[in-house]
Symmetry: C2
Subunit: 324 residues, 2 copies
Amino acid sequence: MRLATLKSDKPDGTLVIVSTDNSHYVSAGSIAPNLLTAIEEWATLESQLRRLADGLNAGDLNEAKSFDSSHASAPLPRSWQWLDGSAFPQHGHLMQQAYSLPPLDAGQPLMYQGLSDRFYGPSDAVPFASETDGIDFEGEFGVIVDAVPMGISAKNAMNHIKLIVQINDWSLRNFGPTEMKTGFGFVQAKPPCSMAGVALTPDELGEAWQDGRVHLPLRVDWNNKRFGEAQGHEMEYGFHEIIAHAAKTRDLVAGTIIGSGTVSNKNYADVGSSCISERRAIDMIEFGEIRTPFMSFGDSVRMEARSQTDAPLFGAIDQQVKQN
Amino acid sequence: MRLATLKSDKPDGTLVIVSTDNSHYVSAGSIAPNLLTAIEEWATLESQLRRLADGLNAGDLNEAKSFDSSHASAPLPRSWQWLDGSAFPQHGHLMQQAYSLPPLDAGQPLMYQGLSDRFYGPSDAVPFASETDGIDFEGEFGVIVDAVPMGISAKNAMNHIKLIVQINDWSLRNFGPTEMKTGFGFVQAKPPCSMAGVALTPDELGEAWQDGRVHLPLRVDWNNKRFGEAQGHEMEYGFHEIIAHAAKTRDLVAGTIIGSGTVSNKNYADVGSSCISERRAIDMIEFGEIRTPFMSFGDSVRMEARSQTDAPLFGAIDQQVKQN
C-alpha cells in the first residue's frame, strides 16, 4: 500500500491512498484525517486503508484522481520524533581515513535526535541563511513506526515498521565538527529534512525489502548530473536493530521516523556517494586536497530510488536551495 | 500569569489559569483547548488569558476551583521540540576536573535535542528499565517560546520567551560517555523529562527574572534530604542567547522548550548540586573515589524553586523512580 499527504490548510495535510504505479490517488479522509493519526491507530485502520487501496488498484473508484508525487507534501509534514542513524560503515571509514580521525568502534548504532517539527515536501525550495555554511544533501532511507515499547528486541521491532520513506537529510557541514566535538550532537548542523512524496508499506518493496534493509540503489543527481547510485542494503545494522537501539530506554511514540544515515557503499569509486561531504573525503584520499565545493544558492538535487523494474516507488525528491 | 494543564482524555490535556498563590484555577478552555495551541496563537490569545487571570486573582470568578499543582500534568505534556542546553559552566568544570577530560571551550552554548513527545507530570512515578543504568535527576529551569524565526538576535529572542518552567531532566549516566564519544549526542542517556505543574510568564518572577536568567535557588531533595540549593542565575549564557544559538539555522516551532542544563554554582561546597553526577565528580576531586551511588527503585526526588518571599511559583516536582 502507498500513502501520501496532500497540502491543505491543516499543518498535517490530508491523507490519500496512491495507486501502485503512483498514477492515481483517492482521499483517505473518511478513515483518517492525516498520516500521523493513521499511524497512531494503525492496528485498527490498516485493513480499511488496504480495502480502499485495493479498490483504487482495481480501477473501481470513480473518485480516483491523477497523482503527481512532486505536488505532495512530505508524508509526515511534522512528527513528534526523528531519530537519524548513520548505519553505512563505509561512510564512516571514508571520513576517518580522509581526516585522520580516531576509529570510532562504538559497537552499537550511531544516532542523534533531529528536528521533526517540519519536513519539507519533495519539490519545496529549501531556504538557508548562508552559502558559507557548507550546504550539503544526504540521501537516505527511513522508516515510520507505530508505538514501540521500551526495551523491545530487534526481532519484534521489525513488526513495528509500518512505512518506508526516502529522505534528504539536509546538513550544514561547517557546524558539524564543533558540534561533534562537544559530544552533544547536532543542532545547527542539521536543519529540517525533506521527504519524498510517497510512503510505502514494506510489502510494496517485495524482495527489495530484506533483513530490515532496502535493497535498491538511491540515484542522486546534483545539478542534473549523476552524483551517486549507492545501494541501500550495505547497512551495518538493519532498521529493526536501529529501532531496538532507539527504544532501549524510551517508548517510541507512534509516528517516530528512523533514518539510515547517508547511503554509502564499499565500491564508492563505481557508484559514487549520496552526500558531498563524503565526496570531499574521497577527494582528500585520492588527491590530497578537496576539489568538490558544497552547494550554492540555485543548485538543485534530485534523489530517487526506483524498483528493480525501474518503476516509481517513493517518487523523486527534486529541490533547489535558496537564500532564506 | 500562571498556566497549568490538567490531565484529560486528550493527549495535550486541558489548559487552566492558576491564581498567583497557586491556590485556585479556572478553565481556559473557552480561549484555547491546551497550552500548545495557546502558544501557537499567543499574540492573539494572551490578552484574553490575562483578563481571565485578572478576574481569578480578583476573586471575581464563581467557577474558580481549588488547585493542587501536584495533580497537574506537565504544562506541555508533549511538544514538537525540546532543546536542552548546559549553560552552567561550573558543572562542566567539575566534570572535567574529576575525570581529567580535555577542556571544552566551544565558545558557544552547548545543546542537544531531546525527546519531546512526552513530559511526565510533577508527581508521576518514573519508570526505568534497570537500576544499573545510572539513574540520575537534573534540576533545571526552562523556557517555552512562541514561533522564533531563523537567524534571530539574542536581544530579539528575549521577546519570544513566553513562559518559564522548572524541569527534571532525567538522565541515565551509564550511556552518556559512549554517546558523547560518538559525537552524535544523547539518545539512550536521555529518557523523558518531568516538568513542574505551573508555567509562569516572566513578569510573575518580578526581579527574579533578569538578563534571561532565573535569580532563585532550586532546592533539590533526594529521599527527603537536602541535596542542593544552587542559584539559577550563574548561567554563562542567558536563555535569550541560547535561543538565538538554537535558531541560527532553523525556525523554532511555537512550543519549543529550551532548557538551562543542570543548575550548578561556584560555591558548590556550600549550596550542593542539582544532579548526582556532579556530586560524584566532587567525590572524585575531594576523596579520589566516588562515594555517592545513583538512584535506586523506590527513591524519591523533590525539586522546587520558590520566590524570594518563599511563596510557591512552579509548584514542586516530587517523584519516585520505579521498575518499568
